[in-house]
């Protein structure tokens, strides 16, 4: 091969993540061990411009860059805002409404209202005669003439993408395959998604929506990739670039649009990948990740350096995308969560949010209701001069007076106490929500560190860890660009799922082993097609299991591709007891799915220069920026403020203290104690 291996040492790798406000870049120059960081405004209409701007501001000529890895929210935004390609569906007669009817739900337990807009409108969903039985036996043959007519009708209606979604296609895909062939002969492009291709499992609503999302974002993603390819080529980068998938793995931009639905939620996934990578190097393989943003907070669980993966993501109400994705739970609380005193005189924080517009009061965009961010400002935790994205500066006194008026007066508190109450309650509610998706699922909090990133994560991390009973917090060197770092450190990855649904006691061990071997071979073949070749290939196997009669599953990691019934039973019972403190010798276990992840491991990236060692001060005092009063536990404490990036590597910082850096502020509460490791991570021991 003429092309050198882009992931080998001495190469220049750039990771770029597009977020809602900023496009972040991290470039690691293997030749000089230099790290370059850039933050440019996201260009909403065409994210490619922001990406190129970020690359240009990194200061390395593009022809010298060996590999660009990119995470985009193009598909996520397209789905959430329903700015989708016009897409048609051909489906089994009698079932065109499946993706609109859903599973008879409402968005919230209380309140008898809700709206739902299907990704494909009803008049573009056409039915044809065909029927497969549950066992995969053909009950009615596919009417090919009807398929032809339906394809033509959808083309005439202006559809750009097509979904073919038949009942029980997971059991027998022959009708979908044949209809797909017919469509391919008439459809002017490759945007034809067969229902069973992404998800070969029963449940017609979930499979249908997954396919419909895929088809309706395919052209959008492909156009975006092409635009970016042209922009990059025009500036001298003509190699293939890689894209992040929601499973936390990378894939060539040449294939990414085939399974475009997999890129939805890729941004949060890459943050979790960076956390797992950083944590493993730092000696903290089990983490709860905590990415707090303006309107919401993303939380994920990492056990032994492996992020939890879910096949059942729902990106919004009644919008399931059932492909393997890093299990990121979104909690509806962030810096913009609004505080109020309710009719009973109790302080409540959230669920309403000021969002980005008008945003917190201190952003000066017309916000008038106090938020968590405003509380941080009033209490001296945030530096008013260092707020990003402020339109018209607002004085701290003005914000404090609003707390005094709206929260303090009805609750009998002054402005500071009111802000303190809002912060405490906000932290507590957030901790509760974090607990529900992490340690409440059968884990001992003492085994975890809280990995805090995003703009606001480090601001709340120690308080949150205290609430959750997590003994320590890890704040990475560059909390504000964690997702971009995930792009740089991610591996190539393909996930496979096979449904088994069989009691463990009578499993065919050889046949089960063969399934896993097939996964390994398919994954290795896919990775072999990539331009960027990994150092090694790693295989992870797991089993989704349950007791016979149950509907929920728990996932048990398997030590090898060899299936042993007794071992399977034992692994499951142990995992079940750990989770629920229940053992059920009375009931048989069942194997639901066998899963394999094939991971092309790239060469390790050195993180030790994320903060330039040359910039470190010799003493702690020399890193001191100022001292200012900060409100802790009901009173003002004169608190040192340090420049995070100037802290000596061997410094020990005792709380209370504030550590500031470009895009994040870390708060050490009284009793906390922070040290740094060689990668520049802050390791905070949370005080009692």
């Amino acid at each position: 091969m003429a092309e050198k291996n882009p992931a080998s040492s001495g190469t220049v790798v750039a990771g770029i993540d597009v977020g809602g406000t900023f496009t972040d870049l991290i470039l690691i120059d293997g030749r000089t061990r230099q790290v370059r960081i850039a933050k440019t405004p996201t260009t909403v209409d065409n994210q490619a411009f922001g990406v190129v701007a970020a690359l240009e501001s990194a200061g390395v000529p593009m022809p010298e860059i060996d590999l660009v890895v990119h995470g985009t929210t193009t598909t996520t935004n397209a789905v959430l805002e329903r700015r989708l390609a016009r897409t048609g569906m051909i489906t089994t007669r009698g079932f065109r409404d499946v993706i609109e009817l859903g599973r008879r739900t409402r968005p919230q337990p209380y309140g008898m209202t809700g709206t739902f807009v299907p990704v494909i409108p009803r008049d573009l969903r056409l039915e044809v005669s065909e029927r497969m039985e549950a066992g995969g036996i053909v009950r009615s043959a596919l009417d090919e003439a009807e398929v032809c007519a339906a394809v033509d009708e959808l083309l005439a209606a202006g559809c750009e993408s097509l979904v073919i979604h038949f009942l029980h296609s997971y059991a027998n895909p022959s009708h979908e395959l044949r209809a797909g062939e017919i469509a391919a002969g008439r459809w002017p492009n490759g945007y034809v998604t067969l229902g069973h291709k992404l998800l070969s499992e029963a449940r017609e609503f979930e499979r249908g929506v997954t396919a419909a999302v895929n088809a309706s974002v395919q052209p959008i993603l492909e156009r975006y990739v092409e635009r970016l390819r042209r922009e990059l080529a025009g500036r001298g980068y003509s190699r293939d670039f890689l894209m992040m998938n929601g499973n936390g793995g990378m894939i060539s931009s040449r294939f990414v649009a085939d399974e475009a639905a997999k890129t939805v939620m890729s941004g949060p996934a890459s943050g979790v990948i960076a956390a797992a990578y950083t944590g493993r190097r730092a000696g903290f393989p089990s983490l709860v990740t905590y990415d707090m943003g303006g309107t919401s907070t993303d939380v994920a669980l990492i056990l032994n350096a492996e992020p939890a993966v879910s096949n059942e993501t729902e990106i919004e109400y009644a919008m399931p995308i059932h492909v393997p994705m890093v299990a990121v739970h979104t909690v509806g609380a962030g810096g913009g969560s609004i505080a109020r005193v309710d009719a009973s005189g109790l302080i409540q924080v959230g669920p309403h949010s000021a969002g980005a517009m008008p945003g917190p009061i201190c952003y000066g965009r017309g916000g008038s209701e106090p938020t968590i961010t405003d509380a941080n400002l009033v209490l001296g935790r945030l530096n008013p001069n260092r707020l990003l994205s402020v339109d018209r500066p607002v004085t701290v006194e003005h914000v404090r007076s609003i707390f005094a008026e709206t929260i303090g007066r009805p609750a009998g508190l002054d402005g500071n106490e009111a802000a303190g109450a809002v912060l405490r309650l906000g932290n507590m509610k957030m901790a509760g929500a974090v607990r529900m998706v992490s340690v409440a699922r059968g884990h001992d909090p003492r085994d975890f560190a809280l990995f805090a990133f995003g703009g606001a994560g480090p601001l709340h991390a120690t308080a949150l860890a205290r609430e959750l009973g997590l003994p320590r917090v890890l704040v990475p060197a560059r909390p504000g660009i964690t997702n971009a770092l995930g792009c740089v450190v991610a591996d190539l990855r393909h996930d496979f799922v096979n449904t088994v649904n069989h009691p463990v006691a009578s499993l065919d061990e050889a046949a089960m082993g063969a399934i896993l071997e097939r996964h390994r071979a398919e994954g290795a073949a896919l990775i072999a097609k990539e331009a960027a070749q990994p150092e090694t290939i790693r295989y992870l196997h797991s089993a989704d299991m349950q007791f016979v009669g149950q509907t929920h599953i728990i996932t048990v990691p398997l030590p090898s591709a060899r299936i042993d019934r007794a071992e399977l039973q034992d692994l499951f019972e142990k995992a079940y007891f750990a989770r629920f403190r229940v053992d059920l010798p009375e009931i048989r276990a069942s194997l639901v799915n066998l899963n394999t992840s094939v991971i092309g491991v790239r060469e390790a990236i050195d993180l030790s220069r994320l903060i330039d060692p040359a910039g470190r001060a010799a003493t702690l005092e020399a890193a001191l920026v100022e001292r200012r009063p900060v409100w802790f536990a009901g009173k003002w404490i004169d608190t040192p403020v340090y420049a995070r990036e100037r802290l000596p590597l061997d410094a020990v910082v005792s709380g209370p203290a504030i550590l500031e850096q470009m895009d994040a502020t870390t708060v050490l509460e009284p009793g906390d104690r922070a040290t740094s490791d060689t990668d520049g991570n802050l390791i905070i021991e949370v005080g009692g």
Partner: protein, 563 residues
């Protein structure tokens, strides 16, 4: 002890969190899909002295709002009177007697006394819907029972766990009286484990804030919840708001049952009076008092979702005991329909009254039926018996903010319906269609949502079909000039003959042979406001999407649309 606003808010959030974790633990570990998938369960914390509700999980099934405080209260009273063995640490009582603060027999309640320093600090209780409790029909929803004994095993409060250990004798009695008994041990352990999760979390709160502080906070929170509900009520204009809702029939006697409601708003309280409602009925559509109260509470919670669930919030809601009506059933009246159907008609009556008072907050009537269709038979291909349950959604009512949702969950539930593919895997049936029920949404300025239309065929062997649905006689009512949603329809095609149940929405044990079909159309939601005021562009869109025909557009909305 006086408490600051911060401590109060913090303890409120901590208690809520405890209940949410109990809900999670119960669902995740449960076997019964009714609990695990459909979340037909609820967990809460109850006062030591009178069982009053302190906090309840936010993901609990709405129909259980308030119910468990009555069963917990009953246990406390029976213990005091020596009618139950006295509570000791580690005990868990089991009870499903409907007349002792319950719903129907399938809802099995566990109650655990929590001891601190030798005395009971509070009770933790939960309810789970078991898939079977014995009785005449699998699953317990007999449409024609005439006494509670026909509905299944009735348990007074007895200790299922004594000092932390499962009592094998009581367990044996239970499992000898129910179907698919071997899996119930899984649900029993899950239900008990959830209580232990709650106890652990509660102890953390008590250790952190101190027992005295938490006790004081609970009292203050109760007072404030009442104040919050009173503040919400105070926004309503004084007056009396009346409504009527109808249950199709009791399943035995083919005549409608009337729920007559008048809600009197005076000052900061609401008084609900069901005087004039039908007398107790012969069939299983009676409601026990706890369920009637709970139905009022859950309807108010749908209207004011921001008020937290606690005994305090219920204080300003005065429900006169509807003595002598079918809404206050006494032993041995059959009650299996109360939680699933009658409760939703009671809620509909509350909505219909309150929409007059709060037109911006309350919707026109939702479909309000769980759509229970059970098919029991024998599958010759697999050589075994089966019981299949199909639950379905329906249209929601239009409201000030827009149209009603289509195929929404029952008013009292939060459960998902099963996928067609899963049903066809498990049972010898084939669905011919599963579709939006066109034309079913009630006309209005904001129209009702659409119901579901499905048709399912028996592929092999023989089976018996049973239906416990409602709104077959009258559709979900429109509001403020809106029209009613479409009525529920059931047709059974046996050979060449089409059979419509005489009671329209309820019938038991209709024999089917291979090739016979069942067709169901669930109700559409009621419309909101005058249909003539609907934006003609929306009417045209609805025709383009096939929701209504051009003829219906002209008839229902007065808008001419070229087809």
């Amino acid at each position: 002890m006086t408490l600051d606003a911060i401590t109060l808010s913090v303890i409120q959030a901590a208690l809520q969190q405890t209940c949410d974790e109990m809900d999670l633990a119960f669902s995740r570990a449960a076997f019964s899909p009714v609990i695990a998938e459909a979340n037909d369960r609820s967990d809460g914390i109850y006062a030591a002295d009178d069982g009053a509700l302190i906090a309840q999980g936010s993901q609990g099934l709405p129909v259980f709002v308030g119910v468990m405080q009555y069963s917990t209260k009953t246990i406390i009273e029976m213990c005091a009177a020596g009618r139950c063995l006295p509570p000791e640490a580690g005990d868990i009582y089991i009870v499903n007697d409907p007349y002792l603060g319950g719903t129907h027999l399938m809802d099995v309640r566990f109650a655990m006394p929590v001891f601190r320093g030798g005395a009971i600090f509070c009770w933790l209780s939960n309810t789970g819907h078991w898939p079977d409790i014995g009785g005449a029909v699998p699953g317990g929803f007999s449409a024609s029972a005439t006494a509670v004994e026909q509905e299944g095993l009735r348990l007074p409060p007895v200790k299922l766990f004594k000092a932390g250990k499962l009592d094998p004798e009581i367990y044996a009695i239970i499992t000898s009286n129910i179907r698919v008994a071997d899996q119930r041990i899984g649900d029993i352990k899950a239900q008990a484990a959830a209580l232990h999760v709650g106890k652990d979390r509660l102890f953390q709160i008590l250790d952190r804030y101190g027992d005295e502080t938490v006790v004081a906070a609970i009292a203050e929170l109760r007072r404030r919840a009442a104040a919050q509900m009173r503040a919400a009520i105070a926004t309503i204009a004084d007056g009396t708001y009346r409504s009527t809702a109808f249950v199709d029939s009791d399943g035995v006697v083919d005549a409608p049952l009337t729920i007559a409601l008048s809600v009197e708003k005076a000052g900061d309280q609401l008084t609900f009076d069901f005087a004039g409602s039908s007398p107790p009925c012969a069939g299983p559509m009676n409601s026990v008092l706890a369920t009637t109260l709970s139905s009022v509470y859950l309807a108010m919670r749908h209207i004011f979702p921001e008020v937290p669930i606690s005994a305090g919030a219920f204080e300003p809601l005065i429900v006169k005991r509807p003595q002598g009506t079918f809404l206050d059933a006494r032993y041995p009246r059959p009650v299996s329909g109360c939680a699933a159907e009658v409760s939703q008609r009671i809620a509909e009556a509350v909505f219909a009254a309150m929409v007059q008072a709060l037109p911006d907050r309350v919707t026109a009537a939702p479909a309000g039926s769980s759509g229970n269709f059970a098919l029991g038979g024998s599958d010759p291909a697999r050589g075994r018996d089966f019981v299949m349950y199909q639950i379905s959604g329906g249209g929601y009512g239009g409201h000030a903010g827009g149209d009603g949702l289509s195929n929404g969950c029952s008013t009292i539930g939060i459960s998902k319906s099963p996928p067609v593919e899963i049903m066809e895997q498990a049972f010898p049936v084939l669905y011919r269609s599963y579709a939006i029920r066109e034309g079913s949404g009630g006309a209005g300025k904001h129209r009702g949502g659409f119901g579901l239309a499905y048709e399912v065929e028996l592929l092999r062997g023989e089976a018996r079909a049973s239906f416990v649905m409602d709104h077959g006689r009258t559709g979900p009512q429109g509001a403020l000039g809106g029209r009613d949603g479409a009525v529920n329809e059931v047709t059974v095609f046996r050979g060449d003959a089409a059979h419509v149940p005489p009671h329209l929405s309820k019938e038991q044990d209709i024999p089917l042979k291979a090739g016979d079909r069942v067709r169901v159309g669930t109700p559409g939601g009621g419309g909101y406001g005058d249909p003539a005021e609907r934006d003609p562009a929306l009417v045209r869109r609805d025709v383009r999407l096939g929701y209504y025909t051009a003829e219906q557009a002209s008839e229902k909305f007065g808008v001419a649309v070229a087809e």
